[in-house]
C-alpha cells in the first residue's frame, strides 16, 4: 500500500512542479526555487522506495483502465529503480546548472524551458516505473513530444529543421516499428506485462522472434541504434542543459532502459539465447559503437563530438543486453548509471566553456584549462569514464561487459570494445591535452592589450555551473569506488546473479 502511494507521489511531484513553475513565470527566483525543491522532493521519494525494491518488493499501482484489456499501471522493479534514481538525482544537479546557464546566456522563454524540463522528468519517471509495455509506450511518446519545445528552444530555422529530424526519427520509428511490435506482442502473447523470463517465451518461433526483436530494437529510436541515430546530433541545437540532462541522460537512457527492459521482461534472455533470434543485434550495436566513434573523432564541434560519443556509448548497453548472459545484463544496467554521470559532466563542461568563453569548437580550446581549471578537470574525469579507465565509473561497467563478451566467447564484441576504447581515447584525450598543455592562441594572451574582445578575457563559468559539474565529476569517481547500491539493483535485474 505505502509502495503504491509512493509511486503515485513520484508521478505527481514533477506534475505539480510543472504547474507551479508555469504559474510562477513572473518571479524567476521563485520559479527556480520551485524547480529545485521539486527535484529534491522527487529524488527523496524515489530514494525512499529504494530499500524496499532492493529487498525484493515490487509495489504496484493501477493508474487508469486505459483499454478494457490493458490498464495503465506502474510497478517498481530494480531496473526502473536505477533509471528513476539517475533521472531524478541528476535533475537536482542539472537544475542548479540550468539556472546558471540560462541566466548566464540570457536565454529567452525560460519559463517554458523549465516547464518542459519538468515534463520530461515526469515522462522519465513514467518510463522508469511503467508496469507494462503500453504504459512504457505512452510515456515514451510523451517524452518525445515534451522535449520537442526544448529542442526548438531558439526558434531559429536551424532549430526548426533539426527538430524535424528529431521528431521525424523518434516519432517515425516509435509508430512504425515499436507500436507495431507492441501490438503484435499483444496479439501473440495476450499480455503486455513485464514478467521475468519474458512473455514471448514459447509463444513465437525463431523467425517471428527475430522480426519482433528488430521491431523493438529499431523501434526504440531513443537508443540510437544505427541507422536511426541522426536525431541525437540534431538535438544538440538545444541549450546545453537540455543536451546534458535529456540527450545524455533522461531521453537516451529511456531508450536503452527500454531495450534492456524489453530483452529481459518481454523476450526473456534464455528464450532469446535458445532461439538465437537476437544474434544479429550485437553486430549492429558493435557497428554503431565503432562507426559513431569514427564520426566523433572527426567532429570539430564539441557538442557534436559528445553527441556521437553518446550514440556509441548507448550501443554499449544494447550490445551488453543482447549478449544475453546474466553478467552482461549487470554490465548493461551498470553502464546506464556510469555513462549517465560521466556524460552529463562532459556536457556540463561544454556548456561552461560556451557560457564563459563562447567557444564551441574543439580547435578553439587551446590552453583553456589555464583559465577554466575546474571545468577542464571535470571534463577530464568524464573523458576517463568514457574511455573506461580507472578511477572513473566507466571502468566498472566496461569491465563487466568485457568479461561477459569474453565469457561468451563473442570475439567480435571483444574486438569492438578494444577498438572503441582506443577510439574514445583518440577523441577525448587530445581535448584535455590541448586545454592544459597547449599555449593559448596569441589573441587570447594579448586580449588585454587590445581590450575589445571581452570574450577572450574570461575566467570560470558562473558558480552554479562549476558546482554542478564538480558534483557530477565527483559522482563519476565515487561510483568507481562505491557502487554497491547500483550493483545490487543490476544484479536483481539479471535474476539475482
Amino acid at each position: 500500500m505505502s509502495g503504491s502511494m509512493a509511486l503515485a507521489g513520484i508521478l505527481a511531484t514533477p506534475l505539480v512542479g510543472l504547474v507551479l513553475v508555469s504559474l510562477s513565470g513572473r518571479w524567476p527566483n521563485l520559479r527556480e526555487g520551485i524547480t529545485l525543491s521539486t527535484a529534491v522532493v522527487l529524488f527523496a521519494q524515489v530514494l525512499g522506495l529504494y530499500a524496499a525494491v532492493a529487498d525484493g518488493a515490487r509495489p504496484e499501482l493501477v493508474l487508469l483502465p486505459m483499454l478494457p484489456e490493458v490498464s495503465l499501471q506502474l510497478t517498481a522493479e530494480p531496473l526502473g529503480m536505477l533509471f528513476g534514481l539517475i533521472a531524478s538525482g541528476l535533475w537536482i544537479i542539472s537544475s542548479i546548472y540550468s539556472i546558471g546557464y540560462m541566466r548566464g546566456n540570457k536565454e529567452g522563454n525560460q519559463t517554458r524551458f523549465f516547464v518542459c524540463f519538468a515534463g520530461a522528468i515526469f515522462a522519465a519517471q513514467g518510463i522508469a516505473f511503467a508496469g507494462n509495455m503500453l504504459t512504457l509506450f505512452l510515456f515514451y511518446e510523451a517524452m518525445t513530444l515534451i522535449t520537442y519545445p526544448l529542442v526548438t528552444h531558439h526558434g531559429t530555422d536551424h532549430a526548426k529543421k533539426s527538430a524535424r529530424i528529431y521528431l521525424g526519427v523518434l516519432m517515425g520509428t516509435s509508430i512504425v516499428f515499436l507500436l507495431t511490435g507492441m501490438l503484435a506482442t499483444w496479439v501473440l502473447a495476450g499480455t503486455l506485462d513485464f514478467r521475468e523470463g519474458g512473455i514471448l517465451a514459447g509463444q513465437v518461433g525463431a523467425t517471428g522472434t527475430a522480426v519482433l526483436m528488430a521491431l523493438y530494437m529499431f523501434g526504440i529510436g531513443k537508443a540510437a541504434l544505427m541507422p536511426f541515430h541522426r536525431w541525437l546530433p540534431a538535438a544538440m541545437v538545444a541549450p546545453t542543459p537540455v543536451s546534458a540532462l535529456l540527450h545524455a541522460v533522461a531521453v537516451v537512457k529511456a531508450g536503452v532502459f527500454s531495450v534492456v527492459k524489453v530483452v529481459v521482461y518481454i523476450f526473456g534472455p534464455d528464450n532469446l539465447m535458445a532461439l538465437g533470434s537476437a544474434d544479429w543485434v550485437p553486430l549492429i550495436a558493435g557497428y554503431t559503437i565503432v562507426a559513431a566513434s569514427i564520426v566523433a573523432l572527426r567532429a570539430d564541434n564539441l557538442k557534436r563530438r559528445l553527441a556521437y560519443s553518446t550514440v556509441s556509448q548507448l550501443s554499449y548497453v544494447t550490445l551488453a543486453a543482447t549478449l544475453l548472459a546474466p553478467i552482461s545484463i549487470v554490465g548493461a544496467a551498470m553502464h546506464i548509471a556510469a555513462h549517465a554521470v560521466g556524460k552529463i559532466t562532459l556536457f556540463f563542461a561544454a556548456g561552461s566553456i560556451y557560457t564563459a568563453a563562447h567557444k564551441t569548437e574543439v580547435s578553439q580550446l587551446d590552453g583553456i584549462g589555464r583559465k577554466m581549471p575546474w571545468t577542464m578537470l571535470a571534463f577530464g574525469v568524464g573523458a576517463l569514464s568514457m574511455i573506461g579507465l580507472p578511477p572513473a565509473a566507466g571502468f566498472i561497467s566496461k569491465w563487466y561487459i568485457l568479461s561477459a563478451a569474453m565469457g561468451a566467447g563473442h570475439w567480435t564484441a571483444v574486438a569492438v570494445l578494444v577498438v572503441s576504447t582506443l577510439l574514445n581515447a583518440g577523441y577525448f584525450l587530445p581535448i584535455v591535452w590541448r586545454a592544459f598543455f597547449r599555449e593559448p592562441p596569441a589573441s587570447d594572451r594579448h586580449g588585454d592589450a587590445h581590450g575589445h574582445d571581452h570574450h577572450d578575457d574570461h575566467g570560470e563559468a558562473p558558480w552554479p555551473m562549476v558546482l554542478a559539474q564538480t558534483v557530477t565529476a565527483s559522482l563519476t569517481i565515487i561510483l568507481f569506488i562505491y557502487h554497491e547500491p547500483v550493483l545490487k539493483l543490476a544484479r536483481a535485474v539479471a535474476g539475482g546473479y
Binding site: L64, M66, L67, L138, L145, M171, G172, I175, L179
Partner: protein, 493 residues
Amino acid sequence: MLSQHLPILLVVVPLLAAPIIVLLRRSFPSWLVATLASIATLAIALPLLARAVSEGVISYAIGNWPPPLGIEYRVDAANAFVAFIVSLIGVFVMPYCRHGVSSEVRAEEHYLFYAMMMLCLSGLLGILLTGDAFNLFVFLEISSLATYVLIAMGRDRRALVASYQYLLMGTIGATLYVIGIGLLYLQTGTLNLADLAVRLPAMGDPRSTLAALAFITVGISLKIALFPLHLWLPNAYAYSPSAVSAFLAATATKVSIYVLMRYFFTIFGETVVFDARYTGVILLALSLAAMFIPAVVAIFQTDVKRLLAYSSVSQIGYITLGISLNSVGGLTAAVAHLFNHALTKGGMFLVLGGVVLRLGGSALDRMAGLGRTMPIAAFAFVIGGLSLIGIPGTAGFVSKWYLVTAAMAEGQWWLAGAVMLSSLLAVIYVWRFVEVAYFREPPEGLPPPGEAPLTMLLPALAMIVACVWFGLDASWSGSMARAAAEALAGGWK
C-alpha cells in the same frame, strides 16, 4: 411509462423544436430552444443506450401498428451508441453556435439556421433508430436537405457552390439507395429491415439481391464520402459555417457508416456480402487508398479547414478498413473510431471556428504565431492533432489499437504497417500547423486577436478534453464499441 417511448421521443423532440424555432424567429430564443432540445436528446439517448445494452433489442411500433405492417423503430447497442454520439456532439455544438454563428450567418437568418440544425439532428437520429428501409430514406432526405441549407449559409459565396455540389452528389446517393430498396421490396415484399434480414437468406442469392446490394452500397458510400466518392466533402466542410463543419464532420458521415454496417452485417449478412463476392477486397483497397491519397492531399492544403476535411476522408478509411475485415474485432475498431474520430474532429473544427472568428479566415498563413496570440486554441488544436495521429493518451490511439489488433488477429499482418505509415502522414499534416503556429512571427501591425469568447472556447475545450479522457480511460467507450459490434453481427434478434 414515458420510458417506453424513448425511441420515438429521441426523433420527435428535435423535429418539433424546428417549427417552434421558426415561429419564435428571434435569434436568442431560437438558440435557447435548439440548445435545450439538444440537451433533451442527450438525456433521452443515454437511458436508451443503457436499456439497449442491458436488454438487447428494443422494438417500438409507431402508432401501435405492429411490424412489419407498421413502421418499426428498432434499437440495439449499435444504433443506440451512434445515436448517443450524435446527441453528445449536438450538446457540444449548440451552445457554441450562439457566438459561433453570429459572425458567419446573417442575423435575420439565425432562426433558419437553428431550425435546420434541429431538422438535421432529427433526420440523423431518425436514420439511426428506424427499422424501416423507406423511412430511413425519408430521414436521409430530411437530414440531407437541412445540411444543404446549412452549408449554403457559409459567409463565403463559394459555400453556394459547395452546397450545390453536395446536393448533386447527395441526391445521386439517395436515388441509388431508393433503387436498391425498391429491388429488395420487389423481391421480398417487405420494407421492414428486420423482416428483410429474415426473408433475404430464404431467397437464395439471386442477381436482384446482388443489384440491390450494389445500389445500396454505392449510394450510401457517396454519403459516407468513401474514397473516391468524397469529392463533395472538402468544399462542404471548408465553406460551411464552422459550427456546421464540426457537426457534420462528427455526425453525418458517421451515421451513413452505421447504415452501411447495418446493411452489410445485419440485413444482407456477411455470407452474401463478403464470402460470396469481392466486397471485402474492394472495400479494403478503397480504404487503403483513402488512408493514403487524401492524407497526402491534406499535407499540401493551404487552408486549415480543407486540411481537416481531407484528413476526415483519410480517417474514414480507417473505419471502412475495420468493416472490410469482416470480424467482430474489425467492427469494434470501426465503431470505436466512429466515436473517437467524432470527438477529435468535432473538437478540432470547434477550436478552429474560434480561430476563424478572431482571424477572419482559415488560411494556414493567417495562423502564423497563433501559439502566442491564441495560446489555448493553438494548444487544443495540437492535442486534437495528436489524436488524429494516434498518440497514446488520446482517443485516436484507442482506435488504432483496436484496428491493428483486429487486422493482426485476422492474419493480415501487413495492414499494421499500412496503418502506421498512414499515421506518419498525419504527423506531417499536423506538424505543418505546429510549425506555422509556433515558429512564425504573428503578423505585425494587427492587434493581437485574443482567445475566442468563452461560449465557443468552453465547448471546444470540452471536446478536446473528452478526446484525452477517452484516450486514457477507454474502458467505457471500448466496451460500448464491442457491444455495438456484437449487436451488428448478431442479426438484430
